[in-house]
Symmetry: C2
Subunit: 240 residues, 2 copies
DNA sequence: TCAGTTATCGTCAAAGTGACTATAACTTCC
DNA sequence: GGAAGTTATAGTCACTTTGACGATAACTGA
């Protein structure tokens, strides 16, 4: 057997790579899907927008690294909402300096979280995804962002994760707005209300109501224990 | 800003890791879901079963590395069926020798593919997943296998990937057997036939039939262009 | 030829969905 | 202080899909 056939058993001289995590933190604010980006200060891609990211520390696992980076960029105690591994990107030349294998994570955060304003120039900020996708992003971050949005859109169909974009208490309208913004469609308020309220464990009535602008007060709900939506919500609705 | 806060910008002295791919190749044979495993020859875990894997070469991307490893282990020209990235595993001590970040891939292969019988002791072989999950697997491969099976089961619900387990031509019964074996349930042959034949682009009639054992000859189909199943197939069926 | 087996076609009631009517309960504008 | 406008929520109805299951077709083996 030639040595190159079983390199995994030859640990001396393994090809070293850098392991990083990149974060796609999404939120819904101002009726738009927004993503958390930083401005790069160093080369390559100095001055361009990029996804927050960083090395995986020697003593932490990948999920911890992602949570740490998210906390560092947003300044919150614990990452609320939802954080899941998205996909790993490792094309040989995605970073011109060295071989980097980056594990991308998808975070869904409530609107009220403000990114930390840091002392240096690399300020994290929410920008609408349309802007982030048309602006030049560093490295292969446009690809990562595209994949993340695609994943987020799919997940809304068959999971109850849309509530991760809302605060601890929300109305059915808030929840519907999340779907409409992420999917870019209009949903019938009556059918949407029927679907989410008839799915056991999706939303739990808190007994309170809120008045927001004109119209009848809306009931406040919190997330229920359900995680899957069966049957799923469908997004095939023309926005007329 | 302390140096440890932005390690991604400090490339000198980045913590080096080894990047590998691990493969969960699944197939349906002998009415059982089976997985391709190798027997480890070196430490650690010498003599134990493990998923096929190997280093990512300096000049290849992750998908190519996975396809290469699959070809090396099964001896086929090109990986047929289906190959997709599953998840990345990078716990600090998953390999006692050094920090290894492993990108796991899920492959779905037709039954007829035989793993290459190699000259040394590390022979790849199909084993039923029940056996692989009860036997001690090297490293965190039991976790990886569990995740892969879970992903495969989900994918059968909302995609047409079940056909990836079949050869180029198959009967509706063959396809149904795939679902029954992967899900571990019994499906009504009449309802299943109605569902797959009424989904546009799922299966295409070749005009031929085959006789296999007693019973009316079955029509032969090949994979159609459809990739998604809307609405999905559901697996909530008690096997009575 | 007959019994057994598998493939395929139909039937029917229950569940879910899209489109839409009807009320309820607020705000805002004369 | 209404009237009009707006949002929330409850129903209605036709249509689609599904699960359960009856019926028929077309083969094998005794």
């Amino acid at each position: 057997m030639p040595p190159s056939t079983r390199p995994a058993d030859d640990l001396a001289g393994f090809p070293p790579v850098a392991a990083t995590v990149d974060l796609v933190a999404l939120t819904v604010r101002d009726d738009a899907l927004q993503v958390l980006v930083v401005t790069r200060t160093g080369d390559p891609h100095a001055g361009e927008l990029a996804l927050p990211g960083g090395f995986v520390h020697p003593d932490e696992d990948l999920d911890s690294a992602a949570a740490r980076v998210l906390v560092e960029e947003t300044g919150m105690r614990r990452p609320p909402g939802h954080l899941e591994q998205l996909k790993t990107y490792g094309a040989p030349n995605r970073d011109p300096r060295l071989r980097v294998v980056s594990v991308a994570y998808l975070a869904m955060a409530p609107t009220r979280l403000d990114p930390r304003v840091r002392g240096d120039a690399a300020v994290a900020a929410w920008v609408p995804v349309e802007r982030a996708l048309t602006a030049p992003l560093a490295f292969d971050h446009t690809t990562i962002l595209t994949d993340a949005i695609s994943r987020a859109r799919s997940k809304l169909e068959y999971t109850s994760l849309a509530a991760a974009f809302c605060g601890p208490e929300f109305t059915v309208s808030n929840l519907r707005r999340v779907y409409e913004v992420v999917w870019g469609v209009r949903l019938d308020p009556r059918n949407f209300h029927r679907k989410v309220s008839s799915t056991p464990g999706f939303i739990i009535d808190t007994g309170h109501t809120v008045i927001d602008g004109p119209g009848r007060p809306a009931a406040l709900y919190r997330r229920g224990p359900a995680t899957m939506l069966v049957p799923p919500l469908t997004r095939e609705q023309p926005d007329t």
